[in-house]
Symmetry: C2
């Protein structure tokens, strides 16, 4: 198509999406499953504005995100404002603001849109939606168990089977403890910097070849310790090492309880670290388990100290965030997305403009019975009106004309099967409620 | 409360709102009524990003809004981007982008949040949500009739009676025609500038004393014509004047058809103009009719030329936008907002941590039956657990303990009435579904 420089483009802003009705119906499907499962677990919905004071992110969100990836600007009054890149700081702010008025354990969910200035690519857009579920006020592992059960239940409600995804679990405290125990075998003690650098490296482990990982690990820990780490750093060894520490014992208990509660697809991943700095204990990440596409789908963890930045006492919290783009991609890959259906069930055509009053009156009575019905008010040929209904994927039509006016009998046509059924008005609502294909 | 300068504030950004669960449930109520009525009329949902190229607003949105009230900034790649101040340019962009793939008449709705940099005051915030309904592709008055019927149906579904609100209607073409006819009585012809200035003045008529309005009108039209306008510019006179023009005749027809379709609260307001420049014909505005509070609630109109800016051929369109803040205010004033109810129906307390597995298993079975149920996993005193349920306004509780484990019989307590009912598990879903108060 030739572009005229005087005309505005119809493209959306770079890296964001337009949702026409068919796309919107996919979003609504994703959100309705998320909502329905979260609400069955007793989570209550909240939301906040996408506009937040920039200070909110400068304390705890990762520096890379704040400095390179936020949408931040000054408003006309000189206030620094940021489009939220994630929801956790907002919910922490809200809970801190009503710390004493809220009842604990507090269960909250929201499906906000969040913004990152990134180069758009598969699975990464500048705006996406993200289910956030958080439980506040529970110190013990029952909070982790519930949050992981909830995450798993959502996957299953989407139609995924246990074998379609894997829940990898780790603990942020267990990692440094394990590294220290391994270093001690060589009579060494690691510095905080060494531990932190190792964790940052682990976070990027899957993004580099094994040799590069080994080399970088050697640079951080020295040859001896890094060899021990490379040799023994697997799930069984690590669990043996940590059996003696407090966080290790708790972590064991978590893995066992998840088994007892019936989750068969949980594995311990000792190198799982996750990017956000605010996690303080358990972390988890859900992976697509199809061999050709072992991608991380979403994750979460425990963050007990986030409310500190508001001067509020500590509030133990566990939560996760599940993005729409990745989940949609997963559902498409596994053929789990339902086919599009127009919500509108019935389209009333008119055999001439003199029947438009009549068709509208019929529509009003059907709407009162809960029928989703559109009227063609264009006074075109009936064939063109039917084509519109068909293009919109509305399953049923009725043409209102002389005969219908005289007899109050209607011919209901199913546009999918072509079948025509004569019926009277009171039979319409039930007949259009389901599509017999 | 003393503020510590090192601590972050828990306040949201100026002029926007936090939605805690009780506030959120009001929003969800507003949105669900809007959605349900729009969908019964066959409108399909769409949405777009809040981020739009700034150019989109520079052509047609009012200059005051673009220059003083938008949130606009440059992104990190040097693109000028604006947080949408209204939805109409976005939907026009989307429809223009798929002009030939869409089926007409096209009925679309969305409930976007929109942003304006304004001094926050009653009814005016920097972010608000706004139902937008538009019908594309209908040239005649049937489009106006449907859109006005839809707006009225939403008001009624909210519980408003015909006498609670008034629908004021006018036509942007009728105004200049009428002014010219009145000027001709004095042998004069008004310039385009005079007509435009008069319409801008009319738009602000209710914001100034009658004397000031008369004085300013005199300055624009001259003493003679302005006197005639002031004396004869009422509904009946104007309708007599325009009976002869094409837009006048169409406008008459619209008023009559609205009567025929049963709308008793429609009035012709000859000074109604509305701020946006893109309206090309019919305009309407819904007013609260309570004498102490005759405020405009929302409005809309016909805009046939908006797609032109994308180089697409003309597409006749009628639509309206209904804001959440004003509607909520109206519903509060008229005592039409439903009381808050937690969505969660049942709270399972445990008589000790040894029953948490059991309570979770029971919860899982009840969730499979569709019950919205939360489990107290804190291992606190039962009394404290019940207090949490009560504070959350959850209507029912069950305490899981030794007896329940042994007998599989439960005592369901209604926290509103205090009543206790013994029952077995399979009776729970139905009993907690409704609250007998």
């Amino acid at each position: 198509m030739a572009t005229n420089p005087n005309k505005l483009s119809t493209e959306p802003y770079k890296g964001v999406r337009d949702f026409y009705p068919e796309e919107m119906s996919v979003q609504n499907y994703l959100f309705s499953v998320m909502r329905s499962v979260a609400e069955r677990f007793g989570y209550e919905e909240y939301t906040a504005s996408i506009l937040e004071p920039s200070e909110l992110y400068e304390a705890k969100t990762s520096e890379e995100i704040v400095n390179e990836q936020t949408y931040s600007f000054e408003d006309r009054g000189g206030r620094r404002v940021t489009l939220r890149p994630e929801m956790t700081p907002s919910v922490a702010r809200m809970v801190a603001g009503k710390r004493r008025d809220l009842a604990y354990p507090l269960r909250l969910y929201s499906i906000p849109n969040v913004f990152r200035y990134e180069r758009p690519q598969r699975g990464r857009l500048r705006e996406h939606w993200q289910l956030n579920c958080d439980i506040f006020g529970v110190r013990g592992i029952e909070a982790e168990v519930e949050i992981i059960m909830l995450a798993s239940s959502i996957m299953k409600r989407f139609g995924a089977r246990d074998e379609d995804f894997e829940i990898r679990v780790n603990n942020r405290r267990v990692v440094p403890e394990t590294l220290q125990v391994l270093a001690e075998r060589h009579g060494l003690t690691l510095t905080e910097d060494q531990v932190a650098a190792t964790m940052r490296l682990m976070d990027r482990k899957n993004k580099m070849p094994a040799e590069e990982y080994a080399e970088k690990l050697g640079q951080i820990l020295g040859e001896e310790v890094s060899k021990t780490v490379l040799l023994t750093y697997n799930s069984d060894e690590v669990l043996d090492v940590v059996r003696t520490t407090e966080s290790g014992i708790q972590f064991f208990e978590l893995l066992e309880t998840l088994q007892v509660r019936g989750l068969s697809n949980v594995v311990h991943d000792p190198t799982l670290v996750r990017g956000f700095d605010y996690y303080t204990g358990t972390i988890f990440e859900v992976f697509d388990s199809s061999p050709e596409n072992r991608r991380s789908l979403f994750g979460g963890g425990r963050y007990d100290n986030l409310l500190e930045m508001f001067g509020t006492e500590l509030l133990p919290t566990v939560g996760f965030g599940m993005g729409d783009v990745t989940i949609r991609d997963f559902l498409e890959t596994h053929a789990l997305l339902p086919a599009y259906q127009a919500k509108t069930r019935l389209y009333l055509c008119t055999a001439g403009s003199e029947f438009i009053d009549e068709a509208n009156a019929l529509a009003a009575r059907l709407r009162a019975e809960g029928v989703l019905v559109a009227v063609d008010i264009t006074d075109r040929k009936v064939g063109d009106q039917i084509k519109s209904a068909d293009k919109k994927k509305i399953p049923f039509i009725i043409v209102v004309g002389d005969e219908e006016r005289a007899t109050s009998q209607f011919k209901l046509k199913n546009l999918i099967t072509g079948e025509e059924t004569p019926l009277s008005e009171h039979e319409i609502p039930q007949r259009v409620a389901t599509t017999e294909a």
